[in-house]
């Protein structure tokens, strides 16, 4: 990868809002999936709000942190706020997300075997607690270190390691049973 591009991705925020949007939209949108109770439209609006906020607060970005750590901390706070608002307004509502077929993204019947496999994994992941789902996302999708994940989730590294171990054991059991 070009060194400058790498530097911008790993150590700097994009210099324009359009750059921030293009770099982060899909990642943040994927992350919002880990918050129960938010429907597809909620997540689209939330992702937009997160990116707006990241842009307006960019002066508070501390370069000693990776941009991902900073953005995911900000995203997490907004996700939790939105989740509370949705739960307050709709009572205890089950997720209207792609589990009910509301999402145009997951339509297994139209996809390939690899997506079927991803769907199985996703179904298994959805049986986990929200914090464990967030942790899995940060470790496996964002390849964050435990230290960075600890900063984002506000939980000690040791706790995260044991949570990950338990979550993986549970996933292994579910997927073995399914396969």
């Amino acid at each position: 990868m070009d060194r400058n591009v790498y530097s911008v991705m790993m150590h700097e925020l994009p210099p324009t809002f359009a750059g921030l949007w293009d770099t982060w939209y899909a990642r943040i949108f994927t992350y919002t999936r880990e918050f129960s109770g938010l429907c597809y439209q909620d997540r689209e609006e939330l992702t937009q709000d997160i990116l707006f906020k990241a842009w307006t607060k960019k002066d508070s970005y501390r370069p000693e942190w990776a941009p991902a750590t900073w953005i995911y901390r900000l995203a997490r706070n907004l996700c939790i706020d939105t989740q509370r608002k949705v739960q307050r307004s709709q009572g205890k509502q089950e997720a209207l997300d792609e589990a009910q077929g509301a999402s145009p993204v997951y339509q297994p019947e139209n996809h390939f075997a690899s997506l079927e496999s991803s769907r199985e994994v996703r179904n298994a992941v959805e049986t986990l607690e929200q914090t464990d789902r967030e942790l899995l996302y940060l470790i496996y999708s964002e390849e964050q270190s435990f230290r960075e994940a600890a900063l984002i989730l506000g939980t000690p590294e040791g706790t995260l390691k044991s949570r990950l171990s338990r979550a993986r054991a549970k996933l292994r059991t579910i997927l073995e049973v399914e396969s």
Binding site: W21, D22, T30, E44, S118, V121, V125, Y140
Partner: protein
């Protein structure tokens, strides 16, 4: 199995993320919190001038009623006052202090 689970997890996120349609970046919303204090000196004086003019116009009716003077008479009096540099300076200082006070109130109520 360990490697397999890890790889399946990564592939699951990759597949999902790969299918997310990124909409075009929207225009940035105009911030509600852009206050006079963040504007340039030229913008500030423009805004203050407009506010001052609005205040003067808004004052004309009650002033006219309370002093029993016709608006044209009041207008002439205001014009004469405006020729008095010390009076206009004192008036504008007072108005600016009033506007600054209002801004502080808005900031406090927003925070």
């Amino acid at each position: 199995m360990k490697a397999d689970l890890d790889e399946r997890l990564r592939a699951s996120y990759r597949d999902y993320q790969g299918q997310v349609t990124v909409p075009p970046a929207p225009d940035l919303p105009v911030s509600r919190r852009v206050t006079l204090s963040r504007r340039t000196p030229e913008e500030k004086s423009g805004w203050r001038g407009a506010l001052l003019a609005a205040c003067l116009v808004a004052c004309m009716v009650p002033l006219s009623l309370s002093t029993h003077k016709e608006p044209p008479v009041l207008g002439r009096m205001l014009y004469e006052t405006s020729q008095d540099q010390r009076a206009i300076q004192a008036g504008s200082d007072m108005t600016l202090r009033f506007i600054d006070g209002l801004q502080e109130q808005f900031k406090r109520s927003e925070s």
